[in-house]
Symmetry: D2
Subunit: 342 residues, 4 copies
């Protein structure tokens, strides 16, 4: 049995831990051989492979990134993409494929498996934690930890000065990182993409905070959008609807707060810092176990499935189920946390 492995989509701490788990168990317990495909779906499309064995996975557990490289290549957008993949898998004598990726990468795996008979097993990956069917995805805990540490540090300034501190964190479509880091960091306002925010409400919280104790910390997901008014787009042009814009909400909000409250505001934009560096212990544990269970799926011939976390156990779900819809922040949870706002 020869198993191919690929990683697709954006960086996510823990990818290497998954790969190591797959290879260690596959070689030692089941005697499998492995082929690494480079740069996500580009690997099987172009037949670009790399050696993947025990020495290749030595020492990679604590390292961020992925030894296999990644890309956002989608074979369904290439002429004859599926045929080329099947051809290259055959040429490499690969009997099964483990696909580690997010919504897009896994969506391809689901179609290849269900429609074209390519035996795929999925491992969910998204730093945003927005995949259904799994309690958590690896990388998320690391990102939350980094954002929380940044917020912790801002408290020092908040205690000593009269400045509003705005922190923009990752989260295009969902507010998981903002919610968790904002709560863990003791932020006074948390703004998420799932709920349009009211700048006047934000300013009211900010002002009340100054009265009660010291300066406020505002955590805003990069995809958060105001209810009213327009935002200046990244390229300097105005968005007349106020909801098409990919970044810069932190800086925009800081300026609005300054103008409306008369208080100075400062912005921190963490950016890619949140997805780099060594994975947290939690993410290494989760990623490793995903790897161990993914190779078990291969052994069981259980294709078209994805491994997922439920409580403390790893379960198997259809890939299609996992990618069917975005896991957004439940309004009840956002409200629960709202007791700390202001």
């Amino acid at each position: 049995m020869r198993v191919g492995v690929l990683t697709g989509g954006g960086d996510c701490p823990g990818l290497n831990a998954v790969i190591r788990g797959i290879v260690r168990k596959g070689v030692q317990e089941y005697g499998y051989d492995f082929t690494g495909f480079r740069d996500g779906w580009r690997g099987p499309l172009d037949g670009d492979v790399t050696r993947l064995d025990i020495p290749a996975v030595r020492g990679i557990l604590p390292r961020g990134g992925t030894i296999l490289g990644s890309s956002r290549t989608n074979p369904f957008q290439r002429d004859g993409g599926v045929a080329r993949i099947k051809e290259n898998l055959a040429k490499q004598e690969v009997d099964a494929l483990i696909v580690i990726g997010g919504e897009d990468t896994l969506g391809v795996a689901a179609r290849l498996s269900d429609e074209y008979g390519v035996p795929c097993v999925g491992v969910p990956k998204t730093i945003d934690n927005d995949l259904s069917a799994t309690d958590y995805t690896f990388g998320f805990d690391t990102a939350v930890g980094i954002a929380t540490e940044a917020i912790d540090r801002l408290h020092t300034t908040a205690e000593s000065h009269m400045r509003v501190l705005v922190v923009e964190v990752m989260g295009r479509h969902t507010g998981w990182i903002a919610l968790h880091s904002g709560l863990a960091g003791g932020a006074n306002v948390i703004l998420i993409p799932e709920q349009r925010f009211d700048v006047d409400q934000v300013c009211a919280w900010v002002t009340s905070r100054f009265g009660a104790s010291y300066a406020p910390i505002v955590v805003v997901a990069e995809g958060a959008v105001p209810k009213d008014g327009a935002m200046v787009l990244k390229d300097g042009s105005l968005d007349s609807f106020g909801h098409v814009r990919l970044s810069g909400v932190g800086e925009w909000l800081a300026k609005e707060i300054e103008q409306r409250t008369g208080k100075e505001a400062r912005t921190t934009v963490l950016g890619h810092v949140q997805r780099g560096g060594t994975p947290s212990a939690f993410d290494r544990w989760l990623a490793t176990r995903f790897g161990l269970h993914a190779i078990d799926c291969v052994r069981d011939g259980d294709f078209g499935t994805m491994v997922a976390l439920r409580g403390t156990g790893i379960v198997r779900v259809p890939i299609t189920e996992a990618t069917a819809r975005l896991k957004t922040v439940d309004p009840a949870l956002y409200e629960e946390v709202g007791v700390f706002f202001g």
Copy 2:
């Protein structure tokens, strides 16, 4: 409504986050008043109280330890203990008690609630993660993170030198910290209290590791016990059965490995470092949500219950259920992880 709060047992990062969650929601949402009892059950026994309101919980979220103090006092071991507690609760006009603690502290809460009609709500606390009925306890993730970082650092030496590195981590009765940090840190041997270890097997793993790549890292829980032979006790005397001993297994094992394999061995004993300092983001999230749900239990008059984590949700369980038995490492899980040994 006036609610008493106490924290009992050993240190655990996240205690202050629970207290803050309770008070913030209790005051702001329900208009409750609070009384803090000092030093666990000693507080209500002696009527030793402290002010507990919004200003008192400001800034405590990232701080380890507990602003209420702690102790291992057991009122059932004091003459008239229960009567004194009921008397002091009445004197302080406390209508309900939130008890944050481990097996012993919660055991008292269960009896007071079930047998003596004291309205108690429990919040589970153990750094060892060995309480049934909850997926995780707060403090555990922090401890695992600290131990993992230490193991990470040891890899540098392991790569450069030919020394066996033994790390003794917490875990008197269960191996959760050893298992999680050992896996996350990429240890080559993990020894837990649930399974007697065979020193010859450990030496075989150690020796094979030297052959394969570089020097081995052995993670051993403080409560791990060898199958055979006697261990030198902490006071220097010999334990003729080899299973009564409270600490020092790391140093003992390093010496055994040196004698049996001829390889130099070095020991790291992390000790209380694992339970101090700021809680991880995960633990702050969990502890805060425990606090928010505990005060909801009080509002609902749901006494004799304990909050617990199941998946990503907080549920309520009878305190007695939670303290009935120790949650030990499942042999199947230990075996799953064993693929990384040697």
Copy 3:
């Protein structure tokens, strides 16, 4: 003998360590009493004081910020400022004043001491490390450490993707933080205020880096200025000279790089994160020793002087000497480090 202490200017990790050193030695060795003045020079101006004794300094060593508060108040810009200070010092029976601050705060101390006979001892404080007469100031090592860790994390993404990563760090007038963190983090381009940068040269380095290995990391001090062309100001207006602008150079540069090289660029703006949180061990050591030596200056009646680091020893210099000129990055040092560019 009663000694007053104040802290002025911006946040800087280590302020509390200085205060603790002063008080511990002053009380225990010399039997002095202390008065804390609140919020920099505002304290002695308004007679706003706080208790400062052994219990007051307990536990503050690892904490960022300052227990005395800070401000940028300048008594020479207030009517009768000097008279009010002398009056309040007399009223509080303060015999000497220890002033912990940067250029502005110490400038006041120098004039008060030299022109008005107020017995002042100075302790240098600037996170930017730009004070003459001392090898290092406390807070700088902490800031460099935080920025370096962020750059470390960005390497993960740089290895996996083809994006230019721009990090804006502190440094309005000098490039010390950019230079040290950029070198320690292995940045491929470091831009400092002392030397106008050439965007085309930056783009050449960026492009050559893509050829040689993986994506480049550009560290830019917030006060760095391009040689040519205009920058968009923070308020959206254009600066026709290209050298008046207080922030936003990171975002501006990222956009320029995208346009000129065709490569995607992402920006991280660390902001106040760099000046918050616990001081590094180095900064605690330095700050504590500054405190111990400052109180010795008081004992020796050595006023108008400032403590300073030279090698591993603490020396005394005239305050005026220290504040006479900004310590900028030596061009030879910048050139030495330039071997790592591109």
Copy 4:
């Protein structure tokens, strides 16, 4: 010009940064070629070499350990050692040798250079910071930072419990790590090898600390020795003089304190954790600059010299001067810090 490089002695974070600095500048500025010798002096003895060029040093800056390997091999203790080294250098066409190491490794370089005409440049390396002629050695700041973080965490327990916490840190012959981490961590007792300690004095400090506030933290260098009485040796036997013993002083002292004061004591032994993992920003800066200056020494034909830190500048000193005597903690400095004891 072909330059050989070797690293000898124990692990020290920053070794790779030195190597990278040497190679980057040597190749880019001077057009030199390099040969890496493996495992310290064993490399030139056995002719064991490895490729050392720009790709070989890519990405190694943040990594602990040394890509060249290390050993404690001493060519003067091998028959014909010097002749074999000269022969292998000639065979590899190596014109100069950069030797990165501590007292022993540099001692060999000094003799080879001075007595046998082998053109050597030295770079000082010791985590213990005990080399004369340089203000600091790289690795020391990292070790101090790790020990300080551990002490920080212990404060949590010290605040909540009535236990004495003993931390054993590195330092066989000198107390630099104990002194710096103990001061930075706010320890209540610091014991160093340079000054015999009096257990009764330690117990007096411990007892007075319990009275004043909360539980004491005792930092003890592994090489610290009591004034009176015997210590149990690591192998269980008794040392009748009380001053020959290589490790275990932490555990021994904890037991003594328990017996003499009646207070419970707990021990943390950090061990090799202190010398592993990524170097601090300070150490990367220092190590890189050492590398840049070492290759300048080669260019200048300045052999028999060692680079050293003086203030913020790098200077050159004779290797023999640097290795002539151990840099011990100045009694005046120890006394200065003593104001924080008890």
